[in-house]
């Protein structure tokens, strides 16, 4: 089970974990397509056992966004 946010982004986006800091945004990564976005959502939901709402799925556009959304759901990150 992956527990680090960076690891999950790295795995799904095919980037090194070191490149997946909070500053990483959707606009910087060509591979972050709408289908990959869904993969990312699925990976986050499964790894942290949370369910994202429709607007959270749309709002999540960076690692920082993900961290904020997950923290608001009580995930310790």
């Amino acid at each position: 089970m992956l527990t680090s946010l960076e690891e999950i982004f790295a795995l799904v986006l095919g980037l090194p974990a070191t490149a997946c800091g909070d500053a990483l945004t959707k606009g910087q990564v060509e591979a972050w397509t709408s289908l990959v976005h869904l993969e990312l959502i699925a990976a986050l939901q499964e790894s942290f056992r949370v369910t994202l709402t429709t607007s959270e799925i749309l709002r999540l556009k960076s690692v920082r966004d993900a961290r904020q959304i997950l923290r608001a759901k009580g995930v310790a990150l």
Binding site: M1, L2, L11, G14, S34, L35, H37, L38, E39, I41, A42, A43, E46, S47, T51, L52, T53, T54, I57, L58
Partner: protein, 569 residues
């Protein structure tokens, strides 16, 4: 493996550059991309490495009907069509007031288009029967009307099944059955639908992908033909050698009832053409004493063969497979003893083994979760298999009363009929090709669609062999394909296979004689035979070897005598 690990593995497979053996196209009324890993990985594990391509969103009809569509250009080997009623019914008011007819039209049009497209492409069609929509305006009241959503959707599903089941090259998956397994509460992804038109959860895609991969695997692998059963603690509770034949547990409550339910299930398998055999380490008289008990649903006469004694079960299974003329890869073995399972698995890796759980009441959950006992609907031939073994028993007894093997063959009054197959025969021929390993010239397999293409191609000549004798009809037992255009002046034997249950009864000779006659009739010099060595085709190599065809060498056979003891029909 978690879902995330599975998806990651699928990506790694994609990057590995391994060559796919199958091209799978998926057309759906929704965003179906999440299905790919859940279909691809189990196919990979079933030794069917596949590439999965998902067609444009909600374009099933256009993609199927347009010969220049992206799907047609992709040229898939397998076409998966998965329409949801939620989309097909969109624009219609929910059925409550109107009759079902209007709700049938669109789904049936999709089925027709899918069928046509698959035939045109020569692809296997996997049509996914739609799940019953969850949106039911009457809520719990939906079940009170024959015009409710559930009732109407059920009608549509059955109309689709009626149209597609049994069609050549068509397999039916079922999204509803996957929703039931996952649970409606976990099957849907309402947020992903709103954002990206993905209506289902990853869990549901995983369940459907696994089912579709199992179906494809079933259609391409050796079919289950024999279940070999242990006796003690598998068919009844307790050990007959210790507890005594009258004391083993077959009571109608507690574990005994679970064993009896298992026996009832075995009888259903038998009715569907599976042969049942027994491998038991016991005194034979004890075992039959239990079989004679009134509470036993399974009777001695239901067993096609048995081995009772104190040798290893691995040896027993090898012998039983030979006696029943099946390869060990068509055998499943069920025992409650992990050590026996391990020993059999070590000796015969191809045998599918199932462990009867310590609590026998758990068998349905455990066995249904594995794919070992999965089967496609039985063909006529499957249904006749059990009566064949009754006839075989009569033949053996008759053989013991006859003076010589030659006299025996003559007295059997064997008749062989060699014909071009009609389209209704293709399913049986595909099945025969898929499962004949021993008497097989070269192990070449063809799917339904490929075989249909060969049938329609003037360069090939197809013959299928039916046989019968005084004791009964063997049905379709052999097939051969001659290729008239590969070698100038000669017919190339492309396929030559025969069911081992008629081995040594003249059918193989009649088939080769027929091949030579057909070559002559086409003005060709003879038949070019190349027998290839495959792991299990020794019987074929022996037959051809005895007639001068060494393995791996193209040998010209110009004539071959029709066996004198076989009548030509």
């Amino acid at each position: 493996m978690t879902l995330l690990e599975l998806r990651t593995r699928w990506k790694a497979i994609g990057r590995s550059g391994r060559k796919p053996a199958l091209k799978v196209a998926v057309l759906a009324t929704f965003t179906a991309d999440p299905l790919a890993p859940y279909l691809g990985v189990p196919l990979e594990d079933a030794h069917l490495p596949a590439e999965v391509w998902v067609g444009p969103y909600h374009q099933i009809l256009q993609e199927c009907l347009n010969p220049q569509s992206a799907t047609a250009r992709y040229h898939p080997d397998v076409l998966v069509v998965w329409a949801r009623l939620d989309e097909l019914w969109s624009g219609l008011p929910l059925p409550l007031v109107d009759g079902a007819q209007g709700y049938l039209e669109q789904p049936l049009a999709v089925a027709e288009a899918a069928l046509d497209a698959a035939r045109l492409l020569g692809a296997t069609l996997i049509f996914v029967l739609p799940a019953i929509p969850e949106r039911r305006p009457l809520g719990v009241g939906d079940s009170c009307t024959a015009r409710g959503v559930f009732a109407t959707a059920s009608r549509v599903r059955e109309a689709l099944r009626d149209r597609l089941a049994g069609q050549r090259g068509v397999l039916l998956g079922d999204a509803e059955s996957a929703v039931r397994r996952v649970g409606a509460g976990r099957a849907y992804g309402h947020a992903t639908w709103a954002v990206a038109r993905v209506p289902f959860s990853e869990e549901l895609f995983c369940a459907v992908g696994a089912d579709l991969a199992r179906l494809l695997g079933l259609s391409r692998a050796s079919a289950l033909k024999v279940v070999v059963l242990d006796a003690d603690n598998t068919l009844w509770g307790g050990v007959v050698g210790e507890d005594g034949p009258g004391q083993v547990d077959l009571s109608d409550s507690g574990p005994g009832e679970a064993f009896r339910a298992f026996q009832a299930y075995l009888l259903e398998l038998r009715r569907a053409g599976v042969l049942l055999a027994l491998a038991s380490k016991n005194r034979e008289s004890d075992v039959w004493e239990v079989f004679a008990r009134r509470e036993m649903l399974l009777k001695k006469e239901h067993l096609a063969a048995f081995r009772i004694g104190y040798r290893g079960k691995a040896d027993d299974i090898g012998e039983l497979a030979r006696e029943l003329n099946v390869g060990v890869d068509s055998v499943a073995f069920i025992d409650d003893n992990p050590a026996e399972i391990a020993a059999v698995q070590a000796a015969h890796p191809a045998v599918a083994c199932l462990l009867m759980p310590p609590d026998p009441a758990q068998w349905p959950t455990l066995f249904e979760a594995t794919q070992v006992l999965d089967r496609l609907p039985p063909t006529e031939d499957d249904l006749g298999r059990n009566s064949f073994f009754v006839q075989e028993h009569q033949r053996r007894e008759f053989g013991q009363t006859v003076a010589s093997p030659e006299q025996y063959l003559a007295d059997l009054q064997i008749e062989v009929e060699l014909q071009a197959p009609a389209s209704a025969d293709l399913a049986r021929l595909t099945q025969l090709m898929a499962k004949t390993n021993q008497f097989n010239l070269n192990g070449r397999r063809r799917s339904d669609a490929e075989l249909a293409a060969v049938c329609g191609d003037g360069r090939y000549l197809l013959r299928m062999a039916r046989a019968r004798d005084r004791f009964g009809d063997y049905g379709v037992v052999g097939a051969m394909i001659l290729d008239h255009h590969q070698a100038p002046g000669r017919a190339v034997l492309d396929t030559f296979l025969m069911s081992c249950r008629v081995l040594g009864r003249g059918v193989e000779s009649a088939m080769l004689a027929c091949a030579c006659e057909e070559a002559k009739r086409a003005g060709l010099e003879g038949v070019l035979v190349t027998v290839l060595e495959t792991p299990r085709n020794e019987p074929a190599r022996l037959f051809f070897g005895a007639h001068g065809c060494a393995p791996g060498v193209a040998t010209l056979v110009t004539s071959f005598p029709w066996p004198s003891f076989v009548a030509r029909v």
